[in-house]
């Protein structure tokens, strides 16, 4: 028995070392903006048929949170942001005025624009008692409370741009009418629950909200904010770079484009 103890220990160690290696192969971690939840889940289902050996693990949250997590070393193969700002902050090739911390997480040659989106004003369906019709109504008594994304949430940044271009941003803050949400789904949840008079989300969120809970009353005026383009890229420290690149190629195909368009996204020309 003593003779085999050493052999047994060696085999046990080999088994322990081998197990993690087996569980990592064929798994890619995708950090994606919360507004992509429905579409990416559908696409994961489609990808299972195309590449049955690859398991896709999603982490959906606001792009600001995801960028911070990546920066602090969270394992991530692909990052899809709801705004260029967060991707630029991780890209060494971006404007140093945006990438102030000189972070270098983006694998060169893998960055592309995956979808684009619109920003809309929504109200709880059937509870628009004051008749909110426009973004400008936020500054009037028609709106008691408005839910917006935080300043580190892309939809929050677009909201700020829109209200600044309408000249009512300062008044909204002074009147203390804004409740800031941590991501776009939180803003949506508050409008659905009727906790606020209205909120600003993406058209995709409004389209995929539970039926009959919210309705769109206005679209952001043209030119009031930068075009909303979602960049995607493979991360430099990806554990599965090859599989990640393969999934990125899959995301560019026609079947995926149809899924994106079906929930309100549009496909950028480039």
């Amino acid at each position: 028995m003593k003779k085999f103890k050493g052999l047994f220990t060696a085999l046990l160690c080999a088994a322990i070392i081998a197990v993690p290696a087996v569980s990592y192969a064929g798994e890619i971690t995708v950090f994606a903006a919360a507004s992509m939840t429905e579409s990416l889940n559908k696409i994961a289902g489609m990808y299972k048929k195309a590449a049955p050996n690859t398991k896709i693990v999603y982490n959906f949250d606001s792009s600001g949170t995801l960028k911070t997590q990546i920066q602090q070393g969270a394992p991530c193969d692909i990052f899809i942001s709801a705004g260029q700002k967060q991707m630029n902050q991780l890209d060494i090739k971006a404007d140093p005025k945006v990438n102030t911390e000189k972070l270098d997480f983006v694998m060169p040659g893998t960055r592309f624009n995956i979808v684009s989106n619109r920003v809309v004003l929504i109200v709880p369906k059937g509870h628009n008692t004051t008749g909110i019709k426009d973004f400008k109504d936020a500054a009037t008594d028609k709106v008691k409370l408005i839910a917006l994304g935080n300043s580190d949430v892309p939809v929050g940044q677009y909201s700020t741009d829109i209200f600044k271009s309408l000249g009512i941003w300062d008044k909204l803050n002074a009147d203390k009418k804004i409740t800031f949400g941590s991501n776009v789904k939180e803003v949506l949840a508050q409008v659905e629950a009727g906790a606020v008079s209205c909120g600003v989300v993406y058209s995709t969120d409004a389209a995929t909200a539970k039926k009959g809970t919210v309705e769109i009353v206005a679209e952001a005026p043209a030119g009031s904010h930068k075009p909303i383009v979602y960049p995607a890229a493979v991360m430099k420290n990806a554990k599965n770079a090859a599989e990640a690149k393969a999934f990125c190629e899959f995301l560019k195909n026609d079947a995926c484009k149809k899924v994106f368009e079906s929930i309100g996204f549009s496909i950028p020309k480039k």
Partner: protein
């Protein structure tokens, strides 16, 4: 925008920290919640001690539940109840015209519920270890029940009650999960220290976040030092009529 009448140096110190609202809001919410929890906790502890065994066990479980549940679960149930579409919230909105969520006082519901079990269990523990022979002696002297409760039982359980109050206040001050769900985050209206620190972290404003952490530490230190001083002042040997009787032998 510079308030008139403030000297230059005063304004510069103030301008660093323009918004003291989270401190004011956190303190008032915690103070009101502790005030409510103090009375409700004591009366619940007293009432439950008198119930039959089975009922006591069940009530104990229900009343301690908020301590075990994650605060976000408490927040979720609260929203479903007092939210504008919930059974309570919708009626309040229809009859009285005001919303129960997304206001500063919504935090009071959340913090009272999560701090209640701390007060309740601590006081119940103090009441259970209270020597009932003191009550019996008082009854033989013809003292009323309420006199016995307020002037005999309570003073003898001072330490337990004080401990419970401090725990409840500390919990109320540090409440985040249920509060953020029920009040949202409206700077200058519903922001508390905990939701503000979270917000500042998200915005990457570490400097201001550290300042708020510092303020919180100072408040905690003051509360704990005050409690220590009070405990020493109230420290009394745990008296028991039985001890006195044995000593006579």
């Amino acid at each position: 925008m510079r308030p008139s009448g403030l000297s230059d140096s005063m304004y510069r110190i103030g301008a660093d920290f323009m918004d003291w609202f989270p401190l004011y809001n956190s303190l008032r919410v915690a103070a009101i919640a502790t005030f409510i929890t103090f009375f409700v906790g004591i009366f619940a502890a007293e009432y439950v001690a008198r119930t039959p065994r089975l009922v006591k066990g069940l009530l104990d479980c229900i009343l301690t539940l908020p301590l075990v549940l994650p605060p976000t679960v408490v927040g979720f149930f609260l929203l479903k109840t007092i939210g504008p579409f919930g059974p309570v919230g919708s009626r309040v909105l229809a009859w009285f015209g005001f919303q129960m969520t997304m206001t500063w006082y919504s935090a009071i519901f959340a913090t009272t519920i999560v701090s209640f079990p701390l007060m309740y269990r601590t006081v119940r523990g103090a009441f259970e270890s209270f020597d009932k022979t003191l009550l019996y002696s008082g009854q033989t002297l013809g003292l009323s029940d309420s006199f016995l409760f307020w002037r005999v039982k309570m003073p003898n359980c001072k330490q337990g009650i004080l401990a419970g109050t401090v725990l409840a206040f500390a919990r109320a001050l540090g409440e985040y999960g249920a509060t953020t769900m029920v009040t949202g985050y409206i700077p200058g209206r519903t922001a508390t220290i905990s939701t503000t620190v979270y917000q500042l972290w998200r915005e990457g404003n570490d400097l201001l976040a550290y300042k708020w952490v510092g303020i919180n530490l100072i408040i905690s230190a003051i509360v704990l030092i005050a409690v220590n001083m009070l405990e020493n002042k109230y420290r009394q040997p745990v008296s028991s009529a039985r001890d006195d009787l044995e000593a006579e032998d």
